[in-house]
Symmetry: C2
Subunit: 272 residues, 2 copies
């Protein structure tokens, strides 16, 4: 398994071994150039790119032309935009992880049975990040795709993933990241969150009731590798027609837990 979410004190610990290694500045700059493009900045001039990435125009020019030669960036001479080849970088992760391929048929069956969207996510720093999803009707304001991030503390998959941290790691998580109330239901208090995460650890699943968006509930359960380590979380979202939280648990939890067990069984058969 490639990327068990690594949360050793929230960030990675290769640093200790690399104090003598000089970082490659132009790689840092090149990746930052890819990330200056988004929905509101789909097409940018060289000057736009330089300003948004905090680079000189000459540096931005060399990087953009390098990315264009590699096929990652398109240009009409004046404006630059990303090309679909950029997706291959994320595909390298998904493919190296293996998990998305393995869970996909399980998600398809779960969404069919539950008539709700299902997803798998892993923890990355403050956030969960979606690695597989089978969507049904859109019930959230924002579209969710592979690569979408939400703060872990306010999502059911996040709570499941935070529940597997050590006390020390959880303390570090709660101290490192600021929390924000997305709705009137969002738990932001560290003590309350810690209690809730403790409950999730005990019961083996998490319900989040309208903490990310009004009217949206979701339940999640952990996915384990062959060594019993939690490597990801599985969830079902629940539209308002499902009734209240108790009804969500009654109707969706058995399907969720059965699917998680099915994925665990499949994972136990794969080479680690």
């Amino acid at each position: 398994m490639a990327a068990c979410p690594r949360v050793g004190g929230v960030s990675e610990s290769v640093e200790s071994a690399q104090t003598s290694v000089e970082p490659v500045q132009s790689l840092i700059r090149g990746l930052s150039v890819i990330r200056v493009f988004d929905a509101d900045h789909a097409s940018l001039t060289m000057s736009d790119v330089a300003r948004r990435a905090g680079l000189t125009r000459a540096t931005a020019r060399r990087i953009l032309h390098t990315l264009a030669e590699l096929g990652y960036v398109a240009s009409d001479g004046r404006n630059f935009s990303l090309r679909p080849k950029v997706l291959e970088l994320g595909h390298a992760f998904l493919s190296s992880m293996g998990l998305p391929d393995l869970v996909q048929p399980h998600l398809e069956q779960l969404t069919e049975d539950a008539r709700e969207s299902s997803s798998v996510a892993v923890l990355d720093g403050r956030d969960i990040i979606y690695v597989a999803r089978v969507a049904r009707h859109r019930i959230m304001a924002v579209a969710i795709n592979v690569g979408t991030r939400f703060p872990a503390y306010t999502t059911s998959m996040g709570r499941v993933l935070l529940a597997q941290l050590s006390e020390e790691e959880l303390t570090s998580y709660l101290q490192t990241y600021e929390r924000q109330a997305f709705t009137s239901h969002t738990i932001t208090d560290a003590g309350q969150l810690r209690d809730e995460i403790g409950r999730v650890r005990e019961q083996g699943w998490a319900l989040v009731d309208q903490e990310l968006e009004e009217g949206l509930r979701s339940i999640a359960a952990p996915i384990h590798d062959r060594h019993g380590q939690v490597v990801a979380a599985l969830n079902l979202s629940a539209s308002s027609r499902r009734g209240d939280a108790a009804e969500v648990v009654e109707h969706l939890l058995p399907l969720l837990l059965a699917t998680a067990a099915g994925i665990d069984a499949d994972l136990s058969l794969t080479a680690s």
Copy 2:
């Protein structure tokens, strides 16, 4: 499915304007390091990475440590693997494109109505690349995700996208890439392909009958921006229970064309 050569006439040509610009070698090397990881090489030592990327060990070391500092690579000291943050690079493209968000509810409705998986793809060099997908039961041997590639010449979405090329671009496409027969039905002859693509251009949709995989049929239609330019293709896959090609056309084509028209209408409302 990592490497995808760029097409001369078919894709962008910033090269003409950049002859004086020196490419940034360490950016090229850094991106190539991300791409040495895949399903069979999820966890690699520094020497593995150096060998697979064609780099010296010292260079691989600096790049890996830079990627680790940025959060794209994890390490246990000896082995390196990709981290989910890599997905954000592809997410930058999906978000800058806008299209995936816009088409998602249309795909959900289409898959619900047709009871078949639906997808949207764009052309990138030799291949189509999936940018949005709503899956139903898995009917193909290989799981398809956002970022998956297939050769354009042998897929319904690819035929639709090739049909919008100029004669010159199509000739260049057919001359540049070798073609391979995936099944006994695959059209590989340049003249036959050109005829088929001409038919697709005239009728406004494409049917591909078991050319990519035995038992798999799919139909596709173009998606246009507000200027009438083809920007992507929409498809429905058809499982064998649908009957033969004629029945696929009879039952699925009306739904497909209605959805494509709905997406075109939405796109005409967006700022270009």
